[in-house]
Symmetry: D2
Subunit: 238 residues, 4 copies
């Protein structure tokens, strides 16, 4: 899907503008200590485990948010795109988490019983309420930092020759998010956001009256991603 990719990375795209307007938060999210320690393998397993079990609960609510995007879509193409992302989350990404957690002796039932950390509650419910209160675009913008950011992080960690994978205990994670399957999910999700933004805001998104509000939603969601990494680094606190 090179066309989507072009859209996605075009200097004047909607998502590029959103990231530019929240540049400090975006940089803090992508370059977070949690990510750097995943990359060099120095992240304590207890942190990764805390993160991954919380991320499993996170994905349940992100799946609910993509289901909401099917409900909110105004044409069949958008319904199908959101249903495919839902399918990728429910059947691929969550299965990966379950496999990893099974190695720690955690069953699906164990995972579902872990209490949600406050950082998790804050992020997922903010996305769901933003999407329910607003329209499809408000919802997709609230979802964007997760799907785009993980795509960018995965791609970077996998392609950077300075990051050796061999002995890295987090190699599976890096290969999953940097690999072609997730990259395609992220690109298709990004292409949908661009399409919906054009259809709702027109060709100059940052001159549209809704720009300030959408940009604030993106910034808040990015801030909540940072809070999620912070939570990963402090496994003793819920």
């Amino acid at each position: 899907m090179p066309g989507n990719l072009d859209n996605n990375t075009a200097s004047d795209s909607f998502l590029t503008k959103l990231k530019a307007e929240s540049a400090p938060e975006w940089a803090a999210y992508l370059g977070h200590d949690f990510v750097r320690r995943l990359a060099d393998g120095s992240l304590p397993e207890v942190c990764f485990r805390h993160y991954l079990t919380q991320d499993y609960l996170f994905l349940i609510h992100f799946s609910r948010a993509y289901a909401l995007a099917v409900y909110k879509a105004d044409d069949l193409a958008d319904m199908r795109q959101a249903a495919e992302t839902l399918h990728a989350l429910l059947d691929t990404e969550m299965a990966l988490h379950l496999r990893t957690c099974a190695r720690w002796g955690l069953s699906e039932k164990d995972m579902a019983a872990i209490p949600e950390a406050d950082a998790n509650l804050a992020y997922t419910r903010f996305v769901l309420d933003s999407g329910m209160a607003g329209d499809l675009l408000d919802l997709l913008v609230a979802l964007a930092p997760c799907v785009l950011g993980y795509g960018e992080i995965g791609k970077h960690l996998l392609s950077d020759p300075a990051i050796p994978l061999e002995a890295n205990p987090y190699r599976d994670w890096i290969e999953a998010y940097g690999g072609p399957e997730y990259q395609e999910v992220a690109e298709a999700a990004a292409a949908q956001i661009e399409r919906v933004a054009r259809r709702r805001l027109g060709g100059e998104p940052d001159e549209a009256p809704r720009w300030a509000s959408l940009s604030r939603t993106f910034q808040t969601a990015t801030r909540l991603e940072i809070g999620f990494w912070d939570m990963g680094l402090t496994p003793t606190k819920s």
Copy 2:
């Protein structure tokens, strides 16, 4: 609220453009046989009674829709405006219906037990779903034909010297919708729609990419108002 009024009636307002784009439906709604027979008093009471009991059920769901507008508002001014319209519906307009129906021996409990006609279901649930799936503007546009249309009909019937009120059995209805209290509710609701449209679409609403979709919502809701009058004229069908 002369400022709002000006906005409301300005030749280039959002609502004026919506009505112009659905001109045939708007004319068929405002000039419906049901309205003409209300005006000249020739409407059979059985029709009016069927209409009014259904309208009571309608107002329950319209109140739910204004509550949804409070939920969907993105600032306090819009929350308060929607809460005031909710209050006017729940505490003034529905009370008027109850008083009229009490004269026919119908209690509030009797009214709530009457099955909703299909035309009623179609209209109210279309509004609620349009509003839930879309944003505040989608919701307000779906609500607009009712609040605006009743305002225009009431004003016209009350002010037209060719329509004598004295012996008209529907005088109460005409005075309620043509009177200052309802006119103010309608004007405040219209002013809110203009304000939200400006904030979400900018100054040229019919050039905004969402125009076609919003115009279609307004047209469908107006068509469903016509269906509601039709239902009033056929009291034996549900």
Copy 3:
């Protein structure tokens, strides 16, 4: 899935009780003239075509309702079940409609542009609003008459030796709804409803305080199915 089937047809199941309480409406829906004329092949093509194009639009909103069920589910099993039904609607059932309509020269775009009949609006939006206002069980009960009824109708038409398929112009439709793929979708949906009812009402659903309200929802949805067949027989009215 014999276990589900047993549940589904057990004399004391939740769905059996719902159907029993709306027995006249259920019989009128399953034995509607539209169905009898489908079975004997005497249904005018103009009626079938009107029905099928409206049913295509119906399925868009039914897909939205199953997406809502994913959002509303309270465990992963229910999320996955609703996501599978969504997938079956979006990717199998709608594709069948598109193939049939393609034979009449109608493209997907043509179909999406056909105005929704009022009977269609009333039914789909009633389901969506019942589900949004209530919980997962309210939603599934509003959806039940469609998925169960089509399953029962299809099974009956396909298995009744008095109904010859060879020359029947509606053979595809009968084989689709009577065939194993749709029967499995219907059984899995029914099994989910039984499971959710047990989890929310306990073992004696018709003694639970919510019974009257749920039964009314089922009855209204069945009445709206009858209205949908009526619409199919009157292709000149919208």
Copy 4:
């Protein structure tokens, strides 16, 4: 409203059972250090100010949640009760906060521009999403710890002779929540919860199949109240 009060405090009421099942969390919320320092006047003003400005933002979303309760109500009595609580929040409680904040030179616009603390986001959006995903009872249970807890705290602080009000800088706050107006709001809200619980669960709520899920919602909301007091004590963190 002595009848409601009786219900409310009866040893076997729904709310009494919910509080009993979350006894440690309930005690930690009502006896939080923030509350004790409000009572003895030793709370630093910077903490109170941080708390009160966040609480103002909190009330915006709590008002949205009560509007949602109007949308979700299944009879007029519940619609009116939720609309009255909405009115009390929007027009009385928020006005009190604005008056207090005006003394610090903060305008309504200033207040609305303060970023929401994560503890605030987590709590309010959890309530809104619980309510949207579930039914009216799920929503009211998620709202209960706030309205009930503030009622109990206010009553206790105002009536305890060991708590002198004269020199207490937080006297206004104590008198507002302990005073008859707020106590009546809290009692009416509690009476509604009892009524809705009886109508949806029957007479033995803790034997109903939904009990575990409702109890978990109440516990999570109480935990998030504790997080809100914690936030009040740490004004430098967002």
